[in-house]
Amino acid sequence: MMGEDFVRFSLAPLLIGALAAMACALPGNFLLLRRQAMIGDAISHVVLPGIVVAFLLTGSVSTWPMLLGALGAAAVSAVLIELVRRIGRVEPGAAMGVVFTTLFALGVLLLERASLGNVHLDVQHALYGNLESLIWLRSSGWASLTDPKALATLPEELPRMAAVAGLMGLLTLIFWRPLKISTFDEGFARSLGIPVRMVSFGLVLAAAAACVAAFDAVGSIIVIAMLVCPPATARLMTDRLATQVWLSLAFAVFAAVLGYVLAGYGPLWLGGEDSVSAAGMIATVSGLTLGIAALYGPHRRRDEAGEPQAL
């Protein structure tokens, strides 16, 4: 599997999967500690109506309108959730449930009613993604990595995902201190003059951007799984936030790589002929990793004295 075929068929999906997993896991760490883990679930549901509306408006399936549509839908849903919570005085979980299921239903209906012709846009694609199809057709073995002509034909998702993952890393580094303090002790953060609400809003916005970018490349299952599972696994391994973040990146890459390999080659080892869904397998691996950490992780239990976190 190390030869020409690997570079052509597996290298790009592996890299894209790992980058998408890291881009989601990074903001996921903070969402987890702020008890906002379900935001990823909500965002990945409302992305569908966003891209459908973008398609209906522009009539094309090009990337940028879709990304903008998805991000717009995420913003609209955030406003709607707040509205329902305020006016309806229902708890945040239920408000979220109301909004994301309704918007998703609307998205499905629009998708079914709009005559999409042969355009590749369907619900299954949105859910499962198509990691396997992101192949590097023009490559001819490892040498292509130094060949500018061949590099230019890499799937465009790869540089985009790399940029988003890099951006997430950069944002985490720049805003590390305000993020950390406002996550653990909002009152203290406010007394230091940290704009707590801005930090919270920025975090959700960054998570939405990561979700939307990853969603386009790898589908919503990976997005939901990677926002929650690797950070949750890491949380059961350590008390230190910095260690948790690094570990979550490692778990994310582990799940992406092992999941992809198992999906692609596992059935062959078992005597089958066709591969299974890589997105599904990556989510499964991340869930299993969490299960193992929940059984054996050194910091799996709740501390007696609440949450004495090392800042």
Binding site: M38, G40, G88, E91, G97, V98, T101, C229, G272, G287
Partner: protein
């Protein structure tokens, strides 16, 4: 229009009739039991359960296909999904209780990994040479089109059972949802009722899988309850209101989806419920947005009117805003002079104000908390006992 009427009056064929009736039952049970979940703030746990049905569904299909069947028997598929939904629920419960993870993280993790595993199994099924797999995708988003008679009957019976179980459990669930501490003190096993409540929700969702699909099943638990909350504050009424809204949504949505192609059942049912939710949020008397808005406006106007009357009583010129309210009430003439009724009302207001001052002195502050809003006459704010006490002291 005619076809819609036919669908609504169950004249689009025998199976469509059974499916529509079953969807109505399902909506009724889902709405009513969802109300308990929303009141207990456990609504999203059922989202994890709904997504967790996928691997069970796929495994049941594989098992039935391996045993030589078509793999489409709804009862077997429902059984499989019920088992894996239960496993999902246990996993959420286990992660929340045994580790430091919060419930929302447990929900997200279980939802994603169970669903992911289900997708893996679905791709396995797609490559198999046997079984009729075409129907399996319909469980994602729900579809009652081309349903077999046996399936429709299964849904109808399942809906009836779910409804019966909801009725049976409604007393302890009401108790737990309304006041868990009181329930625990009066000997109700809260944790067991909670688990039964979740199991019931899981069972209801399994019944609804074929109708609304697993991605949207949770909507039928949350939307009716959230909509019913706008109409009343009382737990019992929220439950039955939610049941009613859910039932109507299930019935109407399924009927609507039958009248034309490419109107998927799940989204149609959910959007019907969402429309009812939206109407309730805006127009419901008492707690709807319009009612709240006009109540707030009315209160502001009463405050201004009272300030104007007090000004009149003390011979001051009322502010322009207060004067407008006074004029509207006929207490001020167009020329800005107080009318006879205006003078009388001003006297009354001044008297009431001095009574209020006395009441604030002699009654404990907590007795007036929430009632001393600056616009309500004392007599309307106090109990008869308190009123005669204050009157007695000032007389």
């Amino acid at each position: 229009m005619e076809i819609l009427l036919q669908a609504l009056t169950l004249r689009l064929g025998h199976n469509a009739m059974l499916a529509t009736l079953g969807a109505g039952m399902f909506g009724l049970a889902a709405g009513a039991s969802g109300a308990f979940l929303v009141l207990r703030k456990r609504a999203l746990v059922s989202d994890a359960m709904a997504h967790a049905t996928l691997p069970g569904l796929a495994l049941a299909f594989l098992l039935m296909a391996a045993l030589g069947g078509e793999g489409r028997g709804l009862l077997g598929l429902m059984l499989g999904s019920a088992i894996s939904a239960a496993l999902g629920l246990l996993a959420v419960d286990w992660l929340t209780r045994r580790t430091r993870l919060t419930e929302d993280a447990a929900i997200g993790a279980v939802l994603a990994s169970f669903f992911g595993f289900g997708v893996v199994l679905m791709t396995v099924i797609q490559t198999l040479p046997f079984g009729r797999k075409a129907g399996l995708e319909s469980f994602l988003l729900g579809s009652t089109a081309g349903m077999l008679r046996a399936d429709a009957l299964t849904i109808l019976v399942g809906g009836l059972i779910a409804l019966g179980a909801t009725l049976l459990l409604r007393r302890p669930m009401t108790l737990v949802a309304f006041d868990p501490e009181y329930a625990a003190a009066s000997g109700v096993k809260v944790q067991r009722i909670d688990l039964a409540m979740m199991a019931l929700a899981g069972g209801i969702m399994v019944v609804g899988l074929k109708i609304v699909g697993l991605v949207l099943a949770v909507a039928m638990l949350i939307l009716p309850a959230a909509a019913a909350r706008f109409w009343t504050d009382r737990v019992g009424r929220v439950v039955w209101g939610a049941g009613l809204i859910g039932g109507v949504s299930g019935y109407l949505g399924t009927a609507l989806s039958a009248i034309a192609p490419r109107l998927p059942t799940g989204p149609m049912v959910v959007l019907t419920a969402a429309a009812i939710f939206l109407v309730s949020m805006i127009f419901a008397p008492g707690r709807g947005a319009l009612a709240l808005w006009s109540a707030r406006r009315g209160f502001g106007r009463r405050l201004k009117l009272r300030a104007g009357l007090l000004d009149l009583a003390q011979g001051r010129r009322p502010s322009a805003e207060a004067a407008r309210e006074l004029r509207r009430a006929g207490f001020l003439s167009a020329a800005g002079e107080a009318t006879d009724s205006g003078r009388a009302a001003a006297r009354e207001a001044a008297e009431d104000e001095s009574l209020w001052a006395r009441a604030r002195e002699i009654l404990p502050p907590e007795a007036l908390a929430g009632r001393d809003d600056g616009a309500t006459p004392l007599r309307a704010a106090l109990t008869p006992d308190e009123w005669s006490l204050v009157r007695g002291v000032s007389a």
